[in-house]
Amino acid sequence: MASITIDGVNKIFGKTPALKDISLEIRDGEFMVLLGPSGCGKTTLLRCVAGLEQVNAGHVKIGERDVTDLAPRDRNIAMVFQSYAVFPHMTVGGNIGFGLRMKRRPKDEIAKRVQEGAELLGLVPFLDRYPAQLSGGQRQRVAVARALVMDAPVLLMDEPLSNLDALLRLQARADLKRLHKEVKRTTIYVTHDQVEAMSMGSWARRWRSTTTPQRSSWAASSARRR
């Protein structure tokens, strides 16, 4: 298990500052929701933690390890993308086991953990199907299962429910909450939906861009314990 420490992180795209001196601590096992309007940089911050963006200044620590200069695959994280990013040329089983295959785990262990992941998300009947044959909700569950079986101590979610219809979203929200209780990973969850943020997180932190139209500086305007 691991905490996440974001220390004075700056990120600049070209000449536009996207993150300005952001510091944030997420404790071990915590479910942190980043809430804010679109374009304010929540996703950028998440991608900096994942290693998909290089920070211009500051540090990111996972546990006691400084991961600022590490590639995504060396950070021990798992991520769920807004578009799910499920691989269309692999079956559901292939998708869920992809990360384990990349880590060169033994075959029987992969089979076992894929089965467990599929059971956890109710995907067992679909293991041999291709993503094109699944509904949006099922694809979303594949993305979550794929991230969970990695057993990474840190789970990053970028608006994982925003592409689902309202009813399905309620269901998925409840599922994610249950999963978090079961697996207890340190989680950062990005959303622009206030209701979602309030119902999910152990901490909800609201970020707001300043008055200038540029997404230059932010302030944490409220933080409350639930």
């Binding site: 994942a50 290693g51 998909l52 590639a71 995504p72 695959r73 994280i77 798992a78 991520m79 993308f81 807004q82 578009s83 990013a85 691989f87 269309p88 040329h89 992809f98 990360g99 990349m102 880590k103 291709y130 993503p131 094109a132 044959q133 794929r146 990695m150 990053l156």
Partner: protein, 268 residues
């Protein structure tokens, strides 16, 4: 008749029209190639051939230099595909993924290479290849064909990689792939149908190219060069035979590679 039926019939009508447009000349060449020499000038031509003979075709195929030139052409086409895709795919990928300085300029320059007619380039190229000792060599012909096909390959593969979501590669990276591994395991397999299209195109460019091949070779002729050199003065029947013979491998090749074009994964 509702709008959908109309849509359908227009679509199928257009498809049938295009198919006929393309197939009729092939058909005429094919039956002419198998018509006995004496009947080749018959008019009106019967739609279904009344008498078939393989004499002309046989004579053409057995003519000196035809079989070796076919092999030469195939080799040149394969080399061209290998060179072209090896050089062009990374360039297309870079154009699709990275916003680098001079990107637009690069695109224009890639296209600008098409502005120089091969007729102008051939003579200096022949001289250069003579000096380098590459003259009358299949690899040199393949190099020229690669240069001709590269702009298409770069632009086509660029378009292909734009269509493969970058998030898929990022997801692969968070799941334990390096940048390169994510390309190999995710972007490349998804781009295969498009790359196959680029390969077909390259094959056709190389297979049909006659000017550079004629100028740059003497003994190791490719098929078009051989046909040009030997059939110009032959009777009409042999021209049909040569024409059919040149078209056939391209058709076979497209049939073989067709499923990669049509068969995008899943149910669509």
């Amino acid at each position: 008749m509702n709008a959908r039926v109309l849509d359908r019939s227009l679509l199928y009508g257009a498809a049938i029209f295009l198919a006929i447009w393309v197939l009729v000349p092939f058909y005429l060449i094919a039956i002419s190639a198998f018509t006995p020499q004496a009947k080749i000038f018959d008019y009106p031509k019967p739609l279904v051939p009344t008498s078939l003979s393989t004499d002309t075709m046989q004579f053409f195929v057995e003519a000196r230099g035809v079989i070796p030139s076919v092999l030469n052409s195939l080799l040149v086409a394969v080399f061209t595909i290998i060179f072209g895709l090896t050089l062009g795919t990374p360039a297309g990928y870079a154009l699709a993924r990275f916003r680098f300085r001079g990107r637009e300029a690069f695109q224009v320059i890639v296209l600008a290479t098409k502005m120089f007619p091969i007729a102008i380039l051939s003579i200096p190229l022949a001289v250069t290849f003579l000096q380098l000792g590459l003259y009358d060599n299949l690899v040199s012909v393949a190099l020229v064909h690669t240069a001709m096909a590269l702009p298409f390959i770069v632009l086509v593969t660029g378009g292909v990689f734009v269509a493969v979501s970058h998030e898929l590669e990022e997801a692969a990276q968070t799941l334990g792939c390096s940048r390169w591994g994510a390309f190999l395991r995710v972007a490349l397999p998804l781009a295969l149908p498009g790359l196959a299209a680029a390969a077909i195109f390259t094959f056709v460019i190389s297979w049909n190219e006659v000017f550079a091949a004629t100028i740059l070779t003497l003994r190791t002729r490719t098929l078009p060069a051989q046909v040009l050199a030997s059939l110009a003065t032959s009777p009409l029947a042999y021209k049909f035979a040569g024409g059919l013979f040149m078209v056939l491998p391209a058709i076979v090749f497209i049939f073989l590679i067709r499923k990669y074009l049509m068969n995008l994964w899943g149910s669509r």
